[in-house]
């Protein structure tokens, strides 16, 4: 199975990995351990899972704007997500993606429901195309 989904480009780059899908907003500052990449936010539905190397899918960011630096710190520690797909991107994630060189797209055609944890995806954030493979 191969599906191509158009999305809006926020931070450029190309990357692929296994999808990790959260239904809830993500706070990088205080919500993800910058040294391990493990989600620590008690309100998160992916608490305890590592975002390192994954194509991380979540509706939008929340919390402190320091979260942009947390994403940068994750990248430097080799624990950042390979790419990010947002429902609707906001300042914290957009800035985090740009300064950390993590490809980021949002508003995928057909919404976020089509993405399932465990499937593989390639995010081309130059062309604005997500390719989902099983």
């Amino acid at each position: 199975m191969l599906a191509e989904v158009k999305a809006r480009v926020i931070a450029k780059g190309v990357a692929e990995g296994d999808l990790l899908v959260s239904q809830k907003p993500v706070s990088f500052y205080g919500g993800v351990d910058p040294d391990s990449g493990v989600v620590t936010d008690g309100e998160s539905d992916i608490k305890g899972q590592s975002i390192a190397g994954r194509v991380l899918v979540f509706p939008t960011g929340k919390g402190s704007t320091v979260g942009s630096y947390t994403l940068y710190r994750l990248k430097k520690n080799g624990k950042a997500p390979a790419a990010i797909i947002n429902g609707e991107c906001e300042t914290i994630c957009a800035v985090g993606g740009i300064i950390s060189d993590v490809p980021l797209v949002d508003k995928p055609e057909g919404g976020l429901a089509q993405f399932k944890t465990g499937a593989k995806a390639k995010v081309d954030a130059n062309a604005g195309v997500i390719t989902v493979t099983q």
């Binding site: 809006r8 926020i10 931070a11 500052y29 910058p34 402190s64 704007t65 320091v66 942009s68 630096y69 947390t70 940068y72 710190r73 994750l74 990248k75 430097k76 520690n77 991107c89 906001e90 300042t91 914290i92 957009a94 800035v95 740009i98 300064i99 949002d106």
Partner: protein, 418 residues
């Protein structure tokens, strides 16, 4: 978004890497929020200065930008994690201090003034009515928009730096007239006397209306210190970047149709919520969140004259260094330091690495209560400046506790539905 020839050059990297990265940030934000163009800003306030928040990655990012990035407009800094000169006095560890000074050096290299205050408007970063700026620090953003009538979105640290290095911001949100209109009419039916009353008003309103823009009616007057406190509180507990007070603030606004009422009970309940029961011997007393005005320092000197801070207690007066210098010239600093109270210049309770050092904070700041609890796991006592000074001197919290409103009194409790 349409870019000028100069802006295109910046985005293409012809004016250096730091400028290129900055333009990528500004253009992405413009894209997300539907801006049609970039506009010039006249000043920048950068938050995200404490090494406690930045960590090594933040420091690395700043050092990278500092290689070829230079501020193009007046740019000031938020508080750091310590007093940059007297950090030993506040018990800051040596290795933390070394890293914090590296952060400051990176900013200085970029031509940023290491003002390290959350009240830039007290030290000369003072935009005028209708001027567009790019500020971070939620309380200062709210003050700039609401009290000064300047225009700024709630920037994060990196987006504020991007504006500093380019002199630009994307034109969306608070820069546009239509987004500056009040969305909720807030009828205040409570007596507001001292600074914490305004902090409690910010708490009660923020909890009720979230990040909507309120128009307060029923507040007849407010001092700059009271407005500073309201800005910090409403931004912390609600998230708004702007409010209007009829007869007090300068912006024009339409009258909104949605309406809420803030009663005396709401304000009293806020004070109760900000004060933890028990723990009547706070071990840290701190005022100056946001940083103290010179008038607040004058009052503290009056209250502390001839008195001594109780042994084993710490009393911090958080302040911008230039304001402390005025306090020195006026003789206030001598009186205050003779009592054993300490000036904490360049820093504050919110960003200093003090988790684990104290158990209970006494403060006149509603914002301080939020961060003392959430970030440092302290208990909190919330009261007036006079009550805080009394706690520092006697070692005990004896403030008259506001009574929590009894819920089952419909005749006396006004609601928005009336």
């Amino acid at each position: 978004m349409e870019l000028t020839a100069d802006e295109k050059e910046m985005l293409e990297g012809k004016q250096g890497n730091a400028v290129k990265k900055s333009m990528e940030i500004l253009c992405a934000l413009g894209e997300i929020y539907g801006a049609k163009r970039l506009i010039d800003v006249s000043s920048v306030q950068i938050a995200g200065v404490s090494y406690d928040n930045l960590g090594d990655a933040g420091l690395e990012y700043l050092s990278e930008l500092a290689k070829d990035g230079r501020a193009r407009v007046l740019t000031t800094l938020n508080p750091a994690g310590m007093d940059l000169e007297d950090w030993r006095k506040l018990g800051i560890p040596e290795d933390f201090a070394k890293k914090q000074l590296e952060v400051i050096d990176a900013f200085k290299k970029m031509g940023v003034i290491a003002s390290c205050t959350c009240t830039p408007y007290f030290i000369g970063n003072l935009p005028r009515y209708s001027e567009s700026v790019a500020w971070s620090e939620s309380s200062a953003v709210c003050f700039a928009n609401s009290v000064l009538g300047a225009r700024t979105n709630r920037e994060g640290g990196p987006s504020a730096i991007a504006s500093a290095l380019t002199g630009k911001t994307a034109e969306y949100g608070m820069h546009l007239d239509e987004n500056r209109q009040a969305q909720v009419l807030v009828k205040v039916r409570a007596k507001l006397r001292a600074v914490p009353d305004f902090g409690a008003l910010g708490y009660a309103t923020g909890k009720k209306i979230g990040n909507k823009v309120p128009l307060f009616v029923g507040v007849k007057r407010a001092s700059v210190e009271q407005l500073k406190s309201l800005c910090a509180s409403i931004a912390t507990y609600g998230g708004t970047a702007l409010f209007h007070i009829k007869g007090v603030t300068p912006n024009r606004t339409r009258k909104p149709t949605e309406e809420v009422i803030i009663t005396q009970n709401d304000v009293d309940d806020a004070k109760v919520a900000l004060t933890d029961a028990g723990y009547d011997e706070p071990d840290i007393i701190s005022v100056g969140c946001p940083h103290c005005s010179i008038n607040e320092v004058r009052r503290i000197a009056e209250l502390l004259d001839g008195k001594h801070v109780k042994e084993g207690k710490e009393f911090w007066i958080c302040i911008a260094r230039p304001i402390k210098q005025i306090a020195e010239q006026a003789g206030y600093a001598k009186t205050i330091e003779a009592s054993g109270a300490k000036f904490a210049c360049d820093t504050c309770m919110v960003v200093a690495p003090i988790k684990g050092r104290f158990k209970c904070l006494a403060t006149d700041s509603a914002k301080s209560c939020f961060y003392a609890r959430g970030k440092n796991a302290f208990k909190t006592k919330f009261g007036t400046l006079e009550e805080c000074v009394a706690a520092a001197v006697t070692g005990e919290w004896k403030a008259k506790q506001a009574k929590q409103a009894k819920p089952a009194q419909p005749k006396k409790t006004e609601t928005a539905a009336e």
